[in-house]
Each structure stands twice: as C-alpha cells, then as structure tokens.
C-alpha cells in the first residue's frame, strides 16, 4: 500500500512535467542496429554521423582518461574500432544519457551527479568481475543509470529537494530516507517512471527501482545487488554527490553482500579495506573524466 502510494506520487510528478528529457533517437537506432548479426562498424559510424552532437561527444569521451587511447583519436570510425563492437553499446548509452540531461543543473550539481554515476558504473564493473558475474558491461550501465530519478528530483523539484539535502546535513541519514519523509516518494520510484518512459529493458528498470532494496528485485537480483554495493562504496569513498549524501554500512549486514556471492563460493578473502583504498585512487581519474566530458560547457 505504502509502496503503491510512493509509486503514484512519482507517476503524478512525471506526468506533470511537459519538458521531460528524452534519449536521442540515434541512440535507440544504434542499439537496435547492434542487435543485428553481422553488423559492420562502418554501418554504426554512418548512422552515428547523422547526429553531429552525438558524434562529437563520442570522440570527446573516447579520448578521455577512462578509455586512454595511446594517441588522440580523431575519426569516429577510429573511435569505434578502438572500442570494439562489444563496448559500443555501453558507450553510446553513456553518451546519450549525458546528452539527455545536458544543462539540467539542479541541486546536486552536474559534475557531482556524473562523478557519482560514473563512479557507481565503474565500481559495479569491478565488483561484477570480483564476484564472477558474467556480464560486467551490464553492471557498468546499471551503475551509470541507477540514479536517474535523482536528476529529475534535483532539477525539476529544486525547492523541495533542497530541503532533503539540508535535512541530511543536519542529521545524517540516507538520501532515500530523507526523500521518503519529505517528498512522500523517492528517486527510486521517480527513476522507475522515467526508465519506463524511455523504454529501458526490464533489468535496468529493476536496478533503478530496487537499488536500495535489492531483495525486492525479481528479474536480476544479483545485478541489482552489485549496483547496490557499488553505490554504498561510492558514497563512502568521496563519490557522494560532493558530500551531500550520507551512508554508513557494514558489509556483513548488507543483504546485497550475501546476494552477490555465488552459491557455495564465499568471498571470505575479499580485502574490503584495500578495496576502499584502491577506489580512492580511482576518484581522481573519475573526476578528470567528468571534467573532460563537460569541458566546453
């Protein structure tokens, strides 16, 4: 009942907005092209070139520290060859996602938002590899998009959302708890409405809606648990919306920790302390990446 009312509230919020962000048409086209067997890189490049903004974004991203090419890549085809067909999908999604929220400066700030999103994507990929989850790329995309509801709240509901952020400053609770108390709904429900609006595949919808309650995930519980953990780690290692977020956790008490471990295979040897320190080393790189992406703005 309570869940339903949070959902209704979120749906009403989304319905009330006339200028909702959209995913660029070319992205959807590229994604379906990539689903076809025997697709050639030339075809993808040709299609991408029909959207100049997108093409420019792809070049900028591929030359960022995240992908580290040895020399600067100047052609779109060069970029696609460098990435390899396997990674084009995540790449295009990333680029189009950034484009959709272009200029949506909200309470959270564009840079901290992307630092957290890329952070969770990258950390989710690391955790997926560590626990032997088969599709690390999916974990990355899941991490990248998990907080789409947050962009909406931070941009379209500025005044109310500011109250949420202020509440956390005075009394450290998780963002999601403060949202529920003050807004009557959270970024999880709002994000789910948005993800459905954009026709995201069901697994991603589930990540968006259940990343704070991985036990509720039905289709992709393990994937959702991976993103949940990545989110927790980012929040405690300086990728926390510029200090606007708060969380405290102990791995042993997190349901997600049990969920990510393969049956019969315990990750007892996992050195969580070292993992944290290694994440610190990545923070600078992630910041640099985000700075590069938004350099011209």
């Amino acid at each position: 009942m309570e869940q339903l009312s949070k959902m209704e509230k979120a749906a009403a919020l989304i319905r009330g907005m006339t200028d909702l962000p959209t995913i660029p048409a070319v992205a959807t086209q590229v994604l379906s092209l990539l689903d076809q067997p025997d697709v050639e890189i030339d075809q993808v490049a040709e299609l991408l070139l029909t959207d100049q903004v997108m093409a420019a974004r792809v070049l900028k991203m591929v030359n960022s520290p995240l992908y580290r090419p040895a020399t600067v890549i100047t052609s779109l085809k060069g970029a696609l060859v460098y990435l390899g067909l396997r990674h084009i999908r995540e790449f295009i999604l990333t680029c189009s996602f950034i484009q959709s929220f272009e200029g949506k400066e909200g309470v959270l700030g564009v840079k901290p938002f992307w630092e957290h999103s890329f952070g969770v994507g990258i950390v989710a990929r690391l955790i997926a590899a560590k626990v032997g989850y088969h599709d690390t790329e999916k974990a990355y995309i899941g991490g990248l998009i998990h907080d789409i509801g947050e962009v909406f709240l931070s941009y379209y509901l500025k005044d109310e959302f500011q109250k949420v952020v202020d509440a956390i400053r005075e009394n450290p609770v998780q963002l999601v708890e403060a949202e529920e108390r003050i807004l009557g709904t959270t970024h999880c429900e709002v994000g789910l409405c948005l993800a459905r609006e954009w026709h995201f595949p069901e697994d991603y919808c589930e990540i968006v809606s259940c990343h704070h309650a991985p036990r509720e995930a039905k289709n992709a519980p393990r994937l959702t648990a991976i993103v949940n953990l990545a989110d927790l780690f980012c929040t405690v290692r300086n990728l926390d919306y510029g200090g606007k977020e708060w969380t405290s956790f102990s791995l042993a008490d997190e349901p997600a920790w049990a969920m990510v471990q393969e049956q019969g295979k315990k990750l007892a040897e996992f050195d969580v302390e070292r993992f944290c320190y290694e994440l610190d080393d990545q923070v600078e790189e992630i910041r640099e990446l985000v700075t590069n992406i938004f350099k011209d703005r």
């Binding site: 405690v236 405290s248 102990s250 944290c276 320190y277 080393d281």
Partner: protein, 277 residues
C-alpha cells in the same frame, strides 16, 4: 630516482602486506623520494638490491623499520582525520550515548593508544566538551592517552603546541580552547587538559594491557604498522577485549587490519571506516 609504475605497485604491495598501510597512487612521488634516501643510505646499487634488504630475515627487517620511519611522518596534529571525527561526532557518539543513557550508565571512556604528544586525545576532549550542554550533560568523561615514550608524554602533559600542530584546527576551536602566546605558541586551556590523563604503557605488556578496561572508543593510528602479524594480532585482541560491547576502534587514515582480527565488524562511513565490537 624514478620508480616505474610497476615497481611502485610491487613496493606498495610489499608495504601493505607487511605493515598494513596503503600508499595511494597520488603518493608515488613522495614514496619515490623517501625510498631514494634509504637506497643511498644503504649504498644499494638499485631498487632490486634494496628490496632484497627489505625482505631479509624473518619478521620485519631492520631496514623495513627504517623505511617506515621515513615514509610515515611521525608528527601528529590536532583534528588530523576530519571524516573520522565527523562520523564519530554525528553518528557513533550519539549512538553510544543513547544506548548507555538508556541503562543509566552515564560515563564515557576513550583511549588514545600511542598518543604521542597528545593531539588526538585533546582533540577528542574538545569535541566532547562541545557536547557538554547537550547530549553529554552530567556525564563523566575519561580520556586516557598512553605512549611508550616518556618524552612525548611529558610534552602531552605540558600542553603547549606550535602553529604547525594546530594547522588543521578550525578557528572556532583555536579561539575557544587555546591561548596564543608570542613565538607562535599555543597553550591549551586547563578545561581541556583536565579531561585527559597520560600514562606510560608498552602495548606489548600483556599484564598491563588487561587493566585497560571498558572503553567506548579506542584510537590507535600509525602504531600497529610497526608490529609483526603475531604482535599485531595480540594487541588488537586486547583492544577488542578492552572495548565495551558495541564500542569502536579506529586506525589511521590509510591503515588496514584486514586479516588481523575477524571478530570486529568493519563499519564504513563517508571518508573512512571503523572497527566495531
């Protein structure tokens, strides 16, 4: 001397595995310059030969201890670890105070183990004094600092500090709890001093360690890195026993106790983690 990225990683792994301290990539330059000093001092022709020295003998080699002295800045300062202090002040302290308050046990005990000249213990004292009007009204507060060196203990008891020691101290605290004297001397207020007692203690001495009882918070930063695994395990077990149920144990900013004690629970918070009983 420049160290290649690969050698840096080998060195970082070695130091982490033997001492439990992690060198972040941003500290590569620092590590490079400090290790160069040791390579020169030992007349080692190159890093490889020097690594051989580090690895010589069982347990921690003399050279490793010398290197540790070079790479851990020995001097401490007030408000050294802000994320840790913030989590303690906003979350762990209210949590413990609420739990103890419920059973009417209004006494808080804190231990700064390896207190050096007292900055950490006094920082806690100032933070707790600020809570005197609210959650710690009518509470008994006991803060104990211990160290093996009588010289630093004497400095701690004196409570006079340089500008360098207070470089991280927020102005609010500097004005309220220090008196500034000519020559950049900062004299600590008696209100802070009387909350803390300093005693000599060797962490290896089991007979004395068992008497350090009933602490709510124990701090031990950059001390255990000098111990070998067996001693580390023993000392940390003492800390575990010396804590109240649900008490917290904190280590230094880049330290790790992974594999030392599996009874503690690692509790993460923004910018750090603590070990909880």
């Amino acid at each position: 001397m420049t160290i290649s990225d690969k050698d840096f990683e080998v060195l970082r792994d070695f130091i982490y595995n033997h001492c439990g301290i992690y060198f972040h990539t941003s500290k590569k330059y620092f590590l490079e310059s400090r290790i160069t000093r040791r390579i020169e001092a030992t007349n080692s022709p190159n890093l490889m030969t020097y690594m051989g020295l580090l690895k010589s003998g069982p347990g921690k080699s003399d050279e490793l201890l010398k290197l540790l002295d070079e790479i851990t800045t020995n001097e401490t300062c007030f408000f050294r670890n802000p994320p840790q202090l913030k989590a303690l002040e906003n979350v762990f302290l209210p949590e413990i105070v609420a739990a103890k308050g419920k059973i009417g046990f209004r006494k808080l005990r804190i231990w700064s183990a390896g207190s050096s000249s007292g900055e950490e213990a006094y920082t806690m004292a100032m933070i707790l004094l600020e809570k005197r009007a609210t959650i710690l009204k009518d509470w008994i507060i006991e803060i104990v600092g211990t160290d093996i060196s009588e010289t630093v203990l004497a400095q701690a008891r004196e409570g006079v500090y340089s500008a360098y020691s207070v470089r991280n101290t927020p102005d609010y605290y500097k004005k309220k709890y220090f008196r500034q004297e000519p020559g950049e001397r900062y004299v600590l207020s008696p209100d802070v001093k009387k909350l803390v007692s300093f005693n000599h203690l060797n962490l290896y001495e089991d007979a004395k360690m068992v008497f350090m009882k009933s602490f709510d918070f124990i701090f031990c930063a950059n001390v255990l890195i000098y111990f070998d695994l067996a001693s580390k395990t023993k000392v940390v077990q003492h800390y575990y026993n010396n804590l109240q149920p649900y008490g917290y144990f904190f280590v230094g900013q880049s330290e790790s106790l992974h594999g030392v004690n599996d009874k503690f629970k690692t509790v993460h918070f923004p910018g750090g983690f603590a070990y909880k009983k």
